[in-house]
Subunit: 320 residues, 2 copies
Amino acid sequence: MNKKFLVTGCAGFIGSHAVDRLLAQGHVVIGIDNFSTGMREFLVDAQDNKNFRLIEADLLDAQLLKKEFFGVDCVFHFAANADVRHGLNQPDRDLYQNTMVTFHVLEAMRHCKVRNIIFSSTGSVYGECKVIPTPEDGPFPIQTSLYGASKLACEGLIAAYCEGYGFQSHIFRFVSILGERYTHGHVYDFYRKLKEDPKVLNVLGNGRQTKSYLYVHDCLDAIFMAMEKSEEKVNIFNLGYDGCCEVRDSVGWICHKLGLNPQVIYTDEVRGWVGDNPIIYLDTRKICQLGWQPQYTIQEAIGLTVAYLQNHEWVYERRA
Amino acid sequence: MNKKFLVTGCAGFIGSHAVDRLLAQGHVVIGIDNFSTGMREFLVDAQDNKNFRLIEADLLDAQLLKKEFFGVDCVFHFAANADVRHGLNQPDRDLYQNTMVTFHVLEAMRHCKVRNIIFSSTGSVYGECKVIPTPEDGPFPIQTSLYGASKLACEGLIAAYCEGYGFQSHIFRFVSILGERYTHGHVYDFYRKLKEDPKVLNVLGNGRQTKSYLYVHDCLDAIFMAMEKSEEKVNIFNLGYDGCCEVRDSVGWICHKLGLNPQVIYTDEVRGWVGDNPIIYLDTRKICQLGWQPQYTIQEAIGLTVAYLQNHEWVYERRA
């Protein structure tokens, strides 16, 4: 049965893929984006579909929101500041772009009697967890970044709305996602640096940071499967690859893919920046028990990402 | 060595006791309160002390804050909306009064290079935890109230400031606190109801809710001990009594203390209200390992609270 979805951050990396999938399934989709980091090019296919309507607006504009949510069956709330690294330079950014925006979305939903929300959280909410791989019900987390803190606050608000107002939520704690339309993160940065200087690559940290990455279509497979099969009031799933690589591995794969052999310069730090988690590896048994498994390895996801950037170098101009 | 403290919510129940203790130790204290729920009468002793200065202001006024924090050694951040029950009637209240206010306090501290914060959190951040008694590092919590969600968000912000800006924090997750200057909660409500009608007492829920309560001076003993003895970057402690009572027990003790024998009417609900946690019992081994233990039982704390209300019935007029 076709439904009406609203996707916030519809022009973003993951949001735009969600829009394409929902439209392909025959659903009606309202997309909201303020194009602060989203890209119009990611909505080219959607814009050709009569079931898609774009609203160019800022989600902090609470008044606007209140009318747009009427008649919506489910909200994909993917709009966010997704940059974990630079939070300390502007400490109100995550608070407003993530926590406050999520509150406004929840209030618009309540006002319009929309009760289903799909939310993109992050493995950063675990801070530097001692249990690795980290399960969804791991130890009470201690935050190490403003980004993680803001997403944890979002999760708390969403769960409280589920308890208090009868909402249902699906909350996904992502590792870093890679793939087509990827426009920030280490592969993006390394590719840019190597374009500027193919002979030298400066890396933040000692390169021993251990990370898990997931390919974007595997990520969306998991989200859609969980929506269908998991029906608790609050459904929380880690989404990641069941394995990790070191930053050094990733550097090697990227350089190999590009046919480059630069001098790679590391620092002595175990963290790439304040709040960087030296080990990200999520326990994904819960989502796998629903029948999901990733189709692409970390190395394949990195390769596909590099290929995308090679064929879409304009993304760097847009973000300059 | 005498220091300069700033106490937010200085005219509140716990804040005013903290002010009195700090002044008794010879420290200089700046108190901030907007008197939305705080009471001037609680500051009568403080106002006689030359080391005390009161600032009547709202902590959401970020500009004001920025100058008042200069030269402060440590902030007791106790200002909050402390009402867990009515959050659903006004869902932005906890977000602004707790989360946003805490952000403003942290920013004022950062601006003025103040790096020590004492924070009153709550056992409500655990939601309905399956591990009872609940330890500080219990399972990743699922929020069941906007109040708990807002305090969890505060904890996350504080921890991220510790990691990012070199702050040190002492975060205390309280059970309900009882004692002198107590002006909201079940003893307060039951006393008022019994004054109005000594023959009938209507109770929210089935009376089997199992709660732990702590006497306010035991609470402050713990806070001051933890400040002195625990020196991690982020120091989190449950504060509660190592035991519980049922609401029915509490009703009995209150009635006995008042010499009343009303008809007590319960509902069928296991929760007194949406978001009420049927069992609150915190594991306090961590704070006890520092050498603290409560001096008053739950029954004694309830008795002292009833006695206080009997001798200070004006608190009801102030809050009418």
